[in-house]
Symmetry: none
Subunit: 248 residues, 2 copies
DNA sequence: CGGTATTTTGCGTGTTTTTGAAAGAATCAA
DNA sequence: TTGATTCTTTCAAAAACACGCAAAATACCG
């Protein structure tokens, strides 16, 4: 393999994952550590990446440090990590959009092997960084507010698929009223997503608990998993302890 | 074997595999290393390939490399600005993906009112920033390399729409060979996109001119506009001056 | 046809680039 | 702190390279 091709390979890895480990590259490219180190140094000299102990980072990663703008990011990371346990190799998963789902994708283990359907372009792009995940983006009208596809076309396509698990963020959840929403289109969409999956998991930060909005998506009996940043035994979750709903 | 034959042979190898090793050529062509080196140098001087230690690479191969810094960004901005003149209020536009298209979107006037179909999630997200643009994302399998949707589902949907203008980036364009590509799926996709539009514009940085790859998309007669960073009267564009093709 | 210029090619020589190994310093994680 | 990993520096061998030269082939011209 030519040096230029190695550089190319490394840059592709960087652009894909925003980071790269020296040791991984040694294995993948089958050359000595020294060669990789020299390659990385040359790429640094060209100003294409950023070297750290153990590997290298994307230059743009440095600037994307303003992830702090994501509201309640710490909580969402906890939720995301818990949710990754639901994904097993070989699964077919359907996901919505939103920052929590996006965080969930980032927390997935590197080696996971699965098929993901999603209505969120941003989630699709993030999922594409995993080698063993097949990504199918469901197309349709693109919503400027929620950055997901919606509308009749999306719902038609959802009716044609059957996933093992549906992962969605939530606007509001309530023990009696179940999942609720304010937007008619989003409401329809969520119903269609639930109908397209055998099981469903709702990712929900604790402050959205015990709230009911105008439009009902489904009862909490229709949900299989509720994932919050709280401990499963937490007082605030007592209203949700029914047999069909796993809290984690 | 004549020199010209060797050159042709080398170029065929390059277009086929995107790369070639000096040592391989020595064996295949049964000449000395020096001869091969001289051949490669001459092809470089003609601007047909890219020489590296150990062999040579295709000029278009170069493209996947600099995604982070966006290769030849200045040129792409010039192209993008020119291309925005093609968009009129009320138009239905179909776009592909790639950094040039993305730059084009960023250069659009704030007030533009139009409908955009796209196979690129990133383009969709960028388009969504415009209030008066309706965005329809065409869904399907998501390609990790090119960050666009592809496959049979995309092509089926493309067959159902009719746009006024199709905007696409390009891997290679040649006066006789027309638009060409190396990837079968992308090739099919581009054909479908062209078929779905009344007119078509190709955005192309000058270094992709006069290159022919393995798979043909269409003849240059099928293209309505060719947008490069060069002046329309530039020498390098002389081979493309046919009646049906507007150069800008 | 003969003689001269030009091109092409291969070879020898010396230089540069690339790569891996070794040794010791620096860094990290527990 | 201690042990393990990772880094840096230095060195050596192999591969690839550039340059000049000369033989062979080809083209050109009177």
């Amino acid at each position: 393999m030519l040096k230029k091709e190695r550089h190319d390979f490394i840059m592709r890895q960087i652009n894909l994952h925003n980071r790269v480990l020296t040791s991984d590259l040694v294995q993948l490219l089958n050359v000595s550590e020294d060669t990789i180190r020299r390659d990385l140094q040359e790429l640094v000299d060209m100003g294409l990446l950023f070297k750290v102990h153990g590997g290298a980072l994307s230059k743009s990663y440095h600037s994307s440090f303003d992830d702090s703008t994501v509201y309640a990011r710490d909580s969402k990371i906890i939720i995301a990590k818990k949710a990754t346990n639901l994904i097993k190799d070989g699964m077919v998963v359907l996901t919505g959009g939103g920052t929590t789902i996006l965080e969930f994708v980032k927390q997935l283990p590197e080696s996971i092997q699965a098929t993901f359907f999603t209505i969120s372009p941003l989630v699709a792009v993030e999922l594409a960084k995993y080698n063993n995940i097949e990504v199918i983006l469901i197309g349709g009208l693109f919503s400027k507010n929620s950055q997901i596809t919606y509308g009749g076309h999306v719902i038609t396509q959802l009716s044609e698929i059957k996933a093992d698990l549906c992962l969605m963020g939530t606007s509001a959840i309530h023990p009696e009223e179940g999942l609720t929403d304010t937007d008619w289109e989003i409401n329809q969409l969520k119903k269609a997503m639930l109908a397209a999956s055998k099981k469903s998991a709702v990712l929900c930060i604790s402050e959205k608990l015990d709230i009911a909005l105008r439009l009902k998506v489904c009862a909490i009996e229709s949900i299989s998993y509720l994932v919050t940043e709280l401990d499963a035994t937490d007082e605030a979750l007592s209203g949700y302890t029914i047999k069909s709903l796993n809290i984690l």
